[in-house]
Each structure stands twice: as structure tokens, then as C-alpha cells.
């Protein structure tokens, strides 16, 4: 059984999140993962709307959210405030944090384990 917590990724680049998604689909095919990357036009940047969409499209009510740079976090926070969902924004290294979380969620690991692993990846 897989955890009922989903993963949301927000990046400045559509390619970065697509690539991370490809990477973690291999280790966590059963985890609900959604993402937003780039501006609405596909340029480098973030867009509040696509972040909101990634949050709402995720099939889970509880979400762990990851971002690459600070301005992505601000959009995440705004979207989180406006959403009904329970969203935890994690200030961990982006790729490594998502990868580790996805692998552990797939295994339905204890939340305390996931959190203690993530604590070691706090770099922001």
C-alpha cells in the first residue's frame, strides 16, 4: 500500500519538473505526483495559476510541496493559503528531497522516517 500523501513540485522550468517526474515515476509509480513549471507561456518563471492547478489536480488531500527557488515558494504559499488542502511546503534540496520522499511514500514509510530524512536535506 502506498501513502495517502501526494507530492507537488514547483519549478521555474517546465523541463526540470518533467525530468524529475520521469525520474521518480521509476521509483514511485503509485504516488500521486503533480507539478507546475515555468510561466504560462513556457518561459522560465513560475505562475500562480499553474501552481494552483497542480495542487488541485493532485488526487491527495494532504500534500508535500517542493520548489526550486524562493519565488516559486511564494507562489506555492499563496496557493496553499487559498486551497482547502493540507499542504506542507518543504525547504529541502529540490531534486534530492522529491526523490527521497517519493521513494519513501511508495513504500508507505512512517511519516516520522520521511521527515527525519528530509531534515537532513534542509538547505533553504
Amino acid at each position: 500500500m502506498v501513502t495517502n500523501i501526494g507530492i507537488v513540485m514547483v519549478s521555474h522550468s517546465k523541463d526540470i519538473v518533467k525530468g524529475i517526474n520521469d525520474l521518480i515515476q521509476q521509483v514511485a509509480p503509485n504516488v500521486s505526483i503533480t507539478y507546475a513549471g515555468g510561466t504560462v507561456n513556457g518561459d522560465i518563471g513560475t505562475s500562480f495559476e499553474t501552481v494552483q492547478q497542480a495542487i488541485e489536480e493532485n488526487t491527495c488531500h494532504q500534500l508535500f510541496a517542493f520548489y526550486d527557488l524562493g519565488s516559486a515558494k511564494m507562489n506555492l504559499e499563496m496557493a496553499a493559503e487559498l486551497s482547502e488542502k493540507e499542504i506542507e511546503i518543504l525547504d529541502v534540496s529540490f531534486i534530492e528531497g522529491v526523490y527521497c520522499t517519493a521513494a519513501l511514500f511508495e513504500m508507505n514509510a512512517d511519516l516520522t522516517v520521511v521527515i527525519s530524512e528530509l531534515e537532513q536535506l534542509m538547505v533553504k
Binding site: 515555468g38 510561466t39 504560462v40 518561459d43 522560465i44 518563471g45 513560475t46 505562475s47 500562480f48 495559476e49 527557488l69 524562493g70 519565488s71 511564494m74 507562489n75 504559499e77 499563496m78
Partner: protein, 202 residues
Amino acid sequence: MIVTKDLTHKWFTLFAEKVIQEKEQLSEYDRIIGDGDHGMNMARGAQQLITLWQAVPPVHLSDVFKQAAMKWISGVGGASGPLYGTAFLEMAKAVGAKEELSNDELVTAVKAGFEGIKKRGKSDIGQKTMLDLWAPAVQDLEKDELTMATLQTALTKTNELKATKGRASFLGDRSINEVDPGAASSKLFFEALIEAGEFGGN
């Protein structure tokens, strides 16, 4: 000074026009200590706001703030989007259903915007951000004035700071003596208020 919907509309329209006019310069500042997109980001929001108001001008005083907030939040793909967006939203909330603001009420609104940026950015004055323009502007407004000299001095002082928030913080000491793009665009915001309003009166 009495702040009406028309004055506020003028204020934000002037701001948007200034941003579009200074787009290249703002991006150039950002090229030095950031990623070079601040002008483009801000001009995107500004253009959308102008386009909206050409079609449907704001009806209520709070519409000006709300509509600007929406355009910045959804149209601007950088840190400045949520930051200005939150500021304008908090200003709209402070204004509420009022259709006119006394000077005190204007101060309250601008302070709410300032607090919104702090909250959204987890930042404070002294970190070489837009906040370092907002703080002296609030101080001036509290005395029912706002001068270009205050804004110019604030920007000069901000240049001397070391960035500890946002992208520029990656540069550490290297950010000293460079212009913070967000401070520069906030200077335009308050310049627009000076031009739209009349200070020193009552």
C-alpha cells in the same frame, strides 16, 4: 490629502506606465544581481492592468488595488508577482468598502501592503529589497508628505546594502553598490503616487 478612487486609479495607471517605460532599465539592474527579468515581469503585469482598465475602468476604490493584485499575482512570473500581488491585496483589504481615504487611512493601507510583502517574503528592511523603499515612504506619508528626495535617498541607501533575501542574496558582498531592481520598481510606485496626489496639503 484625500485619496479618491480616481486618484488611486491615476496612481496605479502612472505606476504601470512608468514600469513599462523603465522595463529595460529594471531588467538591466536585475541582470547584474539577479536573473535579468524584473522589468519584463513587472511590465507583463502592468500591461495587463492597463489593458483591463482600457476595457473596464475600476468602479470602487478597492477595485484598483484588487485588480492590480490579481494581475500581479497571475501575470508576473517572478518573485515580484506574489510580493507586489500580496501588497496590493492587503491594501485592498485595508481599504475595504471605503470610497475615500484620509491621510491616516492611506498610511494604514500602505503599511498593510508593506506588512504583506514582509509576510510573503519572510523578509524585513535592511535586506536590500523593495521593502527598503516602502519603509521610508511610509514614514514620509505619516507626516502627510512624500518627496522625490526621500525616495532617491532611500534608493541610494538601498544600493549600499548587502542582499540577504531573494536571488541576489546568492551574491553576498558582491551585491553591495548595485541597484536592487525591486527597490527601483518600488521607487516608481511611490513616484506615481507623488504625481497622482498632492502632498503637504490636507
